[in-house]
């Protein structure tokens, strides 16, 4: 049986997380190709609807990656991002999507290692959870 | 004299009045009412009958008061504004008076959240002060709250609760003044454990001459155990139980705590009767009515005056 390859969308803030991702690249660190990085000016720019659309379009997991607590370039963007992720979780449960599929993480620009590590761990976690539950329904619909 | 109320007669005579309390049962159990009432007979001038206390459904205060009348006891018919609109309240008042009930207490009532019907609509068509005004108008002007004339108006002796221990403390004397303005004849206070604080309140009351415009009955509740003392201290809103009292109760072995509670009660009555403006005592020995005779006798308040 083919191993399930999760699709992970990672919203990364320009100042920290994206730079860390870049650093992982230049350090030649390996991290799974499952992680699709989307650069945003600040994690605070990510709204609930962005996460929802990612899942709707088939992402199996979503990461929102921002600066370390207290270090947000825009002061409290990462705080707001965390609040939004937290607030979204009950809605995901109502839909029937495991809330653990969406996670907020923090890192500084120099943490290439951390970016690689988080990407690897999260991909594995999502692999274990399995495909986004809406996909099975979509296939049944397409087949009918 | 405004009414035929025995309580009014005792208070007016200058003797210290004594009232007890009877909480109706949570079912159609007339015998429970009669047994509690029988324990109090001869030791109190009147008996408060509570109205859906703590927002739990019980036999109505009206129905339970009728049993007391049948036993030749004098009920203080309690009425909360939480459960009835002004039509129902005035209707119950003339009904009660028609059965010889001539003394009542006007209260707001505990919020439904505390009881067994938290989902019920909170009525409060009138608040307790507006109810006092209404009853006063029914008695002295012979008119319903809406203005129409009452045929044979109810001559009710009107009471209210007073709580010297609720917040804000600075308002508590004004609150009594407001009830006096609305027309209250007597008040019964929340049970007193912090006598110092009560004395402070009474100073404020006397300063304004309110003790000459309303009869003030000091509330007393004997504590059964140190656990009860702690519970009342921490969990009951508007209650002030000093630490020394809890310590005193806890300092005595468990099987002796009930008696200690009674002793404290009798000592409190001794101290309170010395305070100018205190016209009597309201003894709330809830589910412990059998102790009332001992308390009343040891406090030197037995036999009750014949009026």
């Amino acid at each position: 049986m083919e191993q399930f390859e999760p699709t992970i969308v990672a919203f990364c803030c320009h100042y920290c997380a994206y730079t860390a991702a870049d650093m992982a690249g230049s350090m030649r660190l390996e991290y799974p190709a499952n992680v699709k990085v989307i650069r945003v000016p600040c994690s605070g720019k990510v709204d609930a609807i962005h996460i929802m659309k990612a899942l709707e379009k088939g992402a199996d997991g979503v990461l929102v990656a921002g600066c370390l607590e207290g270090d947000c370039h825009f002061k409290t963007g990462n705080v707001k991002a965390l609040q939004r992720v937290t607030y979204l979780r009950p809605l995901l449960e109502e839909i029937g999507i495991e809330p653990e599929r969406v996670q907020m993480v923090n890192m500084s620009a120099g943490m290439g290692n951390r970016f690689a590590q988080i990407s690897t761990e999260f991909t594995e976690k999502i692999r274990e959870l399995g495909p986004n539950p809406i996909k099975a329904g979509v296939s049944r619909l397409a087949a009918s | 004299m405004k009414t035929e109320s025995v309580l009014e007669k005792v208070l007016a005579s200058g003797e210290l009045a004594v009232t007890g309390e009877c909480g109706p049962p949570r079912g159609a159990l007339p015998d429970v009412v009669k047994e509690k009432a029988a324990l109090l007979k001869g030791y109190v001038d009147a008996v408060n009958v509570t109205d859906n206390q703590t927002a739990m459904v019980r036999m109505s205060s009206f129905a339970a008061s009728l049993f007391l009348r049948q036993m030749d006891l004098h009920p203080v018919f309690q009425m909360v504004t939480r459960d009835r609109n002004r039509l129902a309240m005035q209707s119950d008042i003339i009904g009660a008076y028609s059965h010889g009930i001539n003394t009542m207490l006007c209260l707001s009532g505990d919020h439904p959240k505390f009881g067994d019907h938290a989902m019920a609509a909170n009525v409060h068509d009138l608040d307790s002060l507006q109810l006092i005004q209404t009853v006063r108008g029914m008695r002295d002007e012979g008119c319903f709250q809406g203005g129409a004339e009452i045929k044979n108006p109810p001559k009710m002796f009107i009471g209210a609760a007073a709580n010297p221990f609720a917040d804000p403390f600075e308002l508590r004397v004004s609150r009594l003044a407001k009830k006096v303005k609305a027309g209250v004849d007597f008040v019964q206070t929340q049970c007193i454990y912090n006598i110092d604080k009560f004395e402070t309140w009474m100073e404020g009351v006397r300063e304004r001459g309110l003790h000459e415009q309303v009869y003030i009955m000091a509330g007393i509740t004997p504590m059964k155990s140190a656990g009860m003392a702690r519970y009342m201290k921490n969990k009951v809103p508007g209650m002030d139980v000093p630490d020394e009292l809890v310590k005193r109760m806890a300092g005595v072995p468990k099987d002796k705590q009930a008696q200690e509670g009674i002793d404290i009660c009798v000592e409190s009555i001794e101290r309170l009767r010395q305070i100018e403006g205190v016209s009597g005592f309201h003894i709330m020995a809830i589910e412990w009515e059998e102790k009332v005779p001992e308390i009343v006798k040891r406090a030197g308040l037995h036999p009750r005056p014949k009026v």
Binding site: E56 | L129, D167, L171
Partner: protein, 221 residues
């Protein structure tokens, strides 16, 4: 503003069970301000409904539109071109809006997506609190600008009751005792002597007592 909160998702799904195409209508006024039914919330709910349906293997087409208000007929007209193309309308407006849409499109099923809560004001970002119950005879001038009918759990007009503790209501530490607030305000305004004026029994006819109310303005008809 009128505040509201979104209904549980399964309740909304149940009401549109069997529909394959719905019109999800938001409102740009009160429910936008309290983040319950504006443009953003419409987008979020549309996505949620779609995903929930996809999960069940059912197709659901959600059309999104947000009107300026749903309590004025002129704005509701904007829905006309869409009505015949959908199986049902789900409105994220308050109860007033839902009813007006239903009144205009009598042959269309119109379902509420939010539970309308209370008339209130914002105490800070993300915090809305009840302020008015529409009694129809405002007495705010007598109570220093704080309403005992909306803010006292027992709507006492001569409070506080004996349950007031440390400025909080007996029902919860998180609810201010309205009469404590009124007293403090009276002190700030220097009108403590007015505390002892007894506010007499209220005539509820100006409020909910006299049935559903209407205001008519001849000069504007």
């Amino acid at each position: 503003m009128i505040t509201a909160e979104r209904k549980p998702l399964d309740e909304i799904l149940e009401s549109i069970d069997g529909c394959s195409r719905i019109l999800l209508v938001g409102c740009n006024e009160c429910v936008t301000v309290c983040a319950a039914g504006g443009r953003k919330e419409v987008a979020l709910l549309a996505s949620a409904l779609q995903m929930a349906s996809m999960k069940k293997g059912q197709a659901l087409d959600v059309r999104e539109i947000t009107l300026e208000r749903q309590c004025d007929p002129e704005y509701i007209e904007e829905l006309t071109p869409h009505i015949d193309q959908v199986d049902a309308v789900v409105s994220m407006a308050c109860g007033c809006g839902v009813q007006e849409v239903a009144r205009r499109f009598k042959k269309t099923f119109v379902y509420p997506a939010v539970n309308t809560k209370f008339m209130g004001a914002s105490e800070g970002p993300g915090i809305w609190a009840e302020r008015c119950q529409g009694c129809g005879d405002c007495l705010l001038g007598l109570t220093g600008g704080i309403c005992p009918i909306a803010r006292c759990a027992k709507r006492l007009m001569n409070g506080p009751c004996g349950g007031s503790t440390n400025g909080k209501c007996e029902i919860s530490d998180e609810v201010d005792c309205a009469w404590h607030l009124i007293w403090e305000r009276m002190k700030e305004l220097g009108i403590e002597d007015r505390y002892e004026d007894v506010i007499s029994a209220k005539d509820w006819r100006t409020g909910r007592g006299s049935g559903p109310r209407k205001i008519l303005r001849g000069d504007l008809q």
